[in-house]
Symmetry: C2
Subunit: 389 residues, 2 copies
């Protein structure tokens, strides 16, 4: 195991946690030499001389061999990470947005410079999903990955179903407890889950998928009316990210969709800020990985595992052939669609419905239909779309 001198970008809850743990564990042989931050005048729980606002104080220091990047700004992060990789430094990052948007460039840059670029913390917090896809499911036989990959929306949906809260109230509770951002759109509209699914798809199937090939519907349209329907049928509602491939290895579903989860389903038990992922293989029994997906400790934990793997010179091997995705033809599935009566939504083009229901205020239909058609008809945020598992 080698020793390492780290340059840290960002000193939020995760950065501070990592600083403290490494300070308490000198036997790891890891030293944080410099921490680059935006605001210099804030009081921080670490010696003042560690801090700088100048990125070059890390990037130009030849003693620093590992950059740990934990800042919010995806654009600034990309600049730092590329400079670090190109200067022959390894990088650990938790920036899912930056990574998802630049996967191909980042992987090539790390490969070209023969350095480690690790990002377990970017997907499902503490759950070692990337490492399992890389190491245990390291052949071309994974057939599906589906799971709850966003802690904020899972917290909101859990509060709605358990305590009968309306969406707005559940969102506010999540924000008060630090499980949702003050601007929650990245989470509640499903984009964060899509970013994570993009990264998962690369490690599970060796495929670089385009944003528009992942069908997304968020949870911000879900109402108490929908929850009542779920309860009546003994379902819960979860935001599920799914990717399935067919026997020829072509993607036949890539989606982030609110989904009814029946009793005795492993994902049913994944509540609040927890994440859970099911990995299915052509030859393997479905495996379930579960742990905390958001918050200081889970993210720190994954970052520290990456730092420790780096000490053993670990690199993602990307053993699965990396190829782009030509065309995804999503399957026909059973959907529940609900809307306010005043919306007067016409869904007849979707085909014959199983059920239709109309009260004085709300309507719903259940119908077997193409995923794409459903989502394009139901783009408005006040129309709920929930898929049947």
């Amino acid at each position: 195991m080698k020793k390492s001198t780290i340059g840290l970008f960002g000193f939020g809850v995760v950065g501070e946690g990592i600083y403290q743990v490494l300070a308490q564990k000198p036997q790891l042989g890891v030293t944080i030499k410099k921490i680059v931050i935006k605001q210099v005048d804030k009081k921080r729980n670490a010696p003042e001389n560690l801090f700088s606002t100048d990125a070059n104080s890390i990037l130009n220091d030849p003693e620093i061999d590992l950059i740990v990047e934990l800042i919010d700004d995806a654009e600034a992060a990309l600049d730092i990470v590329l400079k670090a990789l190109n200067s022959g430094r390894s990088v650990v990052s938790a920036n899912k947005k930056m990574i998802a948007e630049n996967l191909s460039l980042l992987i090539e840059t790390a490969k070209k410079n023969n350095v480690s670029f690790l990002y377990e913390a970017a997907v499902c917090g503490s759950v070692p999903i990337i490492r399992n896809l890389e190491e245990y499911f390291d052949n071309d036989l994974v057939s599906s990955v589906r799971g709850i990959v966003n802690g904020s929306t899972n917290f909101i949906l859990t509060q709605m179903i358990k305590f009968g809260l309306e969406y707005d109230l559940a969102l506010r509770k999540a924000q008060e407890l630090g499980f949702a951002e003050s601007n929650p759109s990245l989470d509640v509209e499903g984009w964060d889950a899509r970013n994570k699914l993009k990264i998962i798809i690369l490690h599970a199937f060796g495929k670089l998928i385009k944003d528009e090939d992942i069908l997304v519907k968020g949870v911000n349209s879900i109402t108490k009316f929908d929850m009542d329907y779920a309860k009546e049928k003994d379902f819960v509602i979860k935001l599920i990210a799914t990717c399935k491939v067919n026997k020829s290895g072509e993607i036949e579903e890539a989606s982030v969709l609110p989904t009814f989860i029946p009793k005795y389903h492993p994902l049913r038990l994944t509540d609040n800020e927890f994440n859970g992922v099911l990995i299915g293989g052509e030859l393997t029994d479905e495996q379930f990985l579960y742990g905390k997906g958001a918050g200081r400790y889970p993210t720190s934990s994954a970052v520290l595992s990456d730092i420790s793997a780096y000490l053993f010179d670990y690199k993602y091997a990307y053993k699965k052939r990396i190829k782009s995705v030509d065309k995804v033809t999503p399957p026909i599935k059973k959907f529940y669609i609900s809307y306010k009566k005043e919306n007067n939504l016409s869904l007849s083009s979707l085909g014959e419905s199983y059920e239709t229901y109309e009260s004085s205020s709300h309507c719903y239909v259940t119908v077997n239909a193409k995923m794409e058609s459903v989502l394009s008809l139901c783009e408005q945020p006040d129309v709920s779309v929930i898929c049947f598992e």
Copy 2:
């Protein structure tokens, strides 16, 4: 990815499953050249010329580079595996008893010959616990591993708590469904779980622990009376294998014990033939891995993952320093002890009890006591010992 020619020992449900899958997947580049079996006159679903009763037909074939060992007999298996490793062949095995009893010898032999010796299927069926301990938790910072590692006993306990069955009836049901052996003592007395825990301890902590340093109480003493107590307190009872180390890395608990599991505990959800393991780290949040632990498909699935890893030249690295264990001083814990009134068991030496209960037929006490003292006083199979989580 290299190609491989396999010699298979054993053609039970797992062996046959693997044969079928590999026959359907020529693109894997894996061929089974010879299958060694005990009885030659049985009708089998594979070409007759593949079978032989002569171990040397595999061991002396220079074309065979990988031995997959799936026989029941631990002694015969050891002989085969040692010969295979010493002849420069890699080995995949699912024989937990053979592996647990010869860990040190087997690892040294594989190392000396620079070959792979993989045994994911020996621990928790399809759950990739060994690989995760090896790869993701590859530093010296794992602080605990605890879980349900035996599917047979978990099936029995689940049936008892869910359907109010007495132990004998639940055991018979498990046997009828193929979840327990006709001679169930290895499972129900806790020895199988102990074997798996030994292997887990090596990969989690780099320690070779002696059998007698793992405290074991099986489930064969558990009665409906105990289940009623559990239900009243809203607990379930699970057979939990536990290993915890202190800050200096010394083992402070290594045990296989029936345990009361409270509501909202991840292990509570692990029912019937499923296995579930929680991995705790000094720096990491507790992770939960869950999947099927027994049966044809789960075991085949793990064996196939090992075969596939071998194609990438994967070897366990045993990065944690392998050292023997000096002395385990198990902690004081809260226990529930129940017995038939006629037994007239004297437990006063354990110290003051929290609760004592006596009916016309049964008694129980709850007491804080040393694990060792409790187990030595309660060795009889008609005395139940259940630990509080």
